[in-house]
Amino acid sequence: MSKVKVIACSGIGKVYGLMTREAVLEVTNHLAPEVSETVCLAHIVTGDAAARAKVEGCDCITVDGCPALCSAKSVESAGGIIKARFRSIDEMRTHRGGDAGTATALSEDGWKIVDEFAEKIAAKVMESVSQ
């Protein structure tokens, strides 16, 4: 059985993009490495057949920073089966007043928020695997 693909937008303009990137890496490298992996979103965006093959027909969880939903739209367009969509901007709403840092570097609070966010994504990965 193929691993669940967890795919971040990695947006470069705002902290929300960095949060998606770090949360996904925490899930795929540390929290659920046996059952999940990530894929370069930039490769999917190229429309390359090999990139499409990485997600087409596979269970995917997308993690976006903003309402543009770049990851969800790109993965959907490449034929991935989206089991859950997350947005870091929503996660920040549960930490009102918190300062997560910048698009270049997360603050100490930012790392804590990302770790909590990653736990939620990992739980969804496990749920998807158990179905």
């Binding site: 990695s10 770090e22 894929v39 930039a42 490769h43 999917i44 965006v45 543009a68 739209k73």
Partner: protein, 135 residues
């Protein structure tokens, strides 16, 4: 004094260290080394965004900065937006085995990784300056 801005598009790939380094380098150029001279765009916005994003390479001379030789930033820009003025591919600039290694989280970066990002940032600056001098 020129008002031209240069578009720097990094792949920000998540599978290899190279993606993290190009992202760090691009941010450093924007914030510290050439503030106000450089603009960027989230690469997947070519699919998720609208006309404005598709016009990016028509509005700015673009430098594509890629972590590996799949050259996704270059390929996507050519496909969706237009011309690429110049390119940087990390596997051609630095040790290929290191660039294609698995360390990608900012949490795991060590001083030698930041030193590599500085090399990339300096290469981006060189190309930005060349473009601005041509205008």
């Amino acid at each position: 004094m020129t008002e031209t801005q240069v578009g720097v598009l990094s792949c920000s790939g998540e599978e290899f260290l190279g993606g993290t380094l190009v992202r760090l380098a691009t941010r450093k150029v924007m914030e510290e080394l050439r503030p106000g001279k450089v603009v960027t765009l989230c690469l997947p916005l070519y699919i998720a965004g609208g006309e404005e994003e598709r016009e990016f390479a028509k509005n700015y001379p673009v430098i594509a900065v890629d972590g590996c030789d799949k050259c996704c930033a270059k390929v996507a820009t050519l496909k969706y937006s237009g011309e690429v003025h110049d390119t940087i591919v990390l596997t051609e600039l630095l040790d290929r085995n290191v660039i294609l290694s698995k360390i990608v989280s900012a949490r795991e970066l060590r001083p030698e990784h930041y030193a590599m990002a500085d090399i990339v940032a300096s290469e981006i600056c060189k190309k930005v300056d060349e473009i601005l001098a041509e205008q």
